[in-house]
């Protein structure tokens, strides 16, 4: 390969040359560039650590919210609801008939006749007198 084959095209060369001259004229002062404080960069490792910490915090917050939602809450019902619950029909007494307490109370088995000491009758059949 000869050096001639590497010769850039004249037009491209002219354009690139013009661009380079424009860029070079805009170059910052070397002393100022070296003297200025380097931009503080956060390393990738530190970024990962921050991202993990943030993710942990978010997860913790979500868990706390879930736990708080799951806990039983003591809600006082509004006064209207309480009044309605206490209302009683004027004819409610008609439902109080003998034995109605069996529907509302648990029968006491201790007072059952089966537990009472009842003497059984003596057998008479086949008994010689």
């Amino acid at each position: 390969m000869t050096q001639d084959s590497f010769e850039p095209d004249r037009e491209l060369s002219r354009l690139f040359e013009a661009e380079r001259r424009a860029d070079e004229s805009a170059a910052p002062d070397l002393g100022a560039l070296l003297a200025r404080r380097p931009r503080r960069r956060i390393s990738v490792g530190r970024r990962i650590a921050w991202a993990l910490a943030l993710a942990s915090l978010v997860t913790l917050a979500i868990l706390l919210v879930d736990v708080h939602k799951g806990a039983p809450r003591q809600v006082t019902p509004p006064a209207e609801v309480v009044q309605l619950a206490d209302w009683e029909s004027p004819t409610a007494f008609l439902l109080d008939n003998p034995g109605s307490e069996l529907l509302t109370e648990i029968p006491n088995l201790a007072s059952s006749p089966a537990n009472e000491n009842v003497s059984s009758p003596e057998p008479t059949k086949g008994v010689t007198r």
Binding site: E11, E17, A22, R47
Partner: protein, 167 residues
């Protein structure tokens, strides 16, 4: 090289280095200045060492290109992590483009459409006056790959520019 010699060489190539940094940073002036400062500090601190295997210009431009790549990767990573991407295009820092002649603006917009390697090699050859061998050393690629990128890029750029001038 002594620190004084290094500083002298940097001073000599500073303007061209800035033009190259602009090309590596998508013409973002703010990022180009950051990249240039970081590159100089790397050289002066001894984090990047000049072994003398190539010319100082090739070495310096290589450091600038690598630093710009690191900056770009860092920006992409932070974008992925924090949901924002500090992209190539910063309209605020590109305001100076408005004062450039129309033909240079046309060249810039055409060059931006080229793949990164073609863009870089055309800048190094046409703008910085490097040979393909020097450009290949700067980009850390083989001479064959450099020649391929150069020819493809030049053909594509010429087609783009002629299409624009014909339109």
């Amino acid at each position: 090289m002594t620190p004084t010699e290094l500083k002298d060489e940097i001073e000599r190539l500073h303007a061209a280095g800035f033009a190259w940094a602009l090309a590596c940073c998508g013409r973002d002036r703010e990022r180009a200045e950051d990249v240039l400062q970081t590159s100089y500090l790397k050289i002066l601190d001894g984090r990047a060492r000049f072994a003398g295997r190539s010319s100082f210009k090739t070495y310096l431009f290589g450091v600038i290109r690598r630093t710009a790549s690191e900056e770009r990767r860092r920006a992409v990573m932070s974008g992925l992590l924090l949901g924002r991407y500090r992209g190539e295009d910063h309209p605020g820092s590109r305001a100076a483009d408005g004062a450039a002649p129309v033909e240079i603006l046309a060249l810039r917009s055409a060059v931006e459409t080229l793949p990164r390697r073609q863009n870089e090699i055309l800048h190094l050859v046409f703008s910085m006056g490097m040979t393909l061998q020097e450009a290949a050393e700067t980009l850390s690629i083989s001479l064959g790959a450099a020649a391929r990128h150069y020819h493809r890029g030049k053909r594509r750029l010429a087609a783009l520019l002629s299409a624009r001038s014909g339109a």
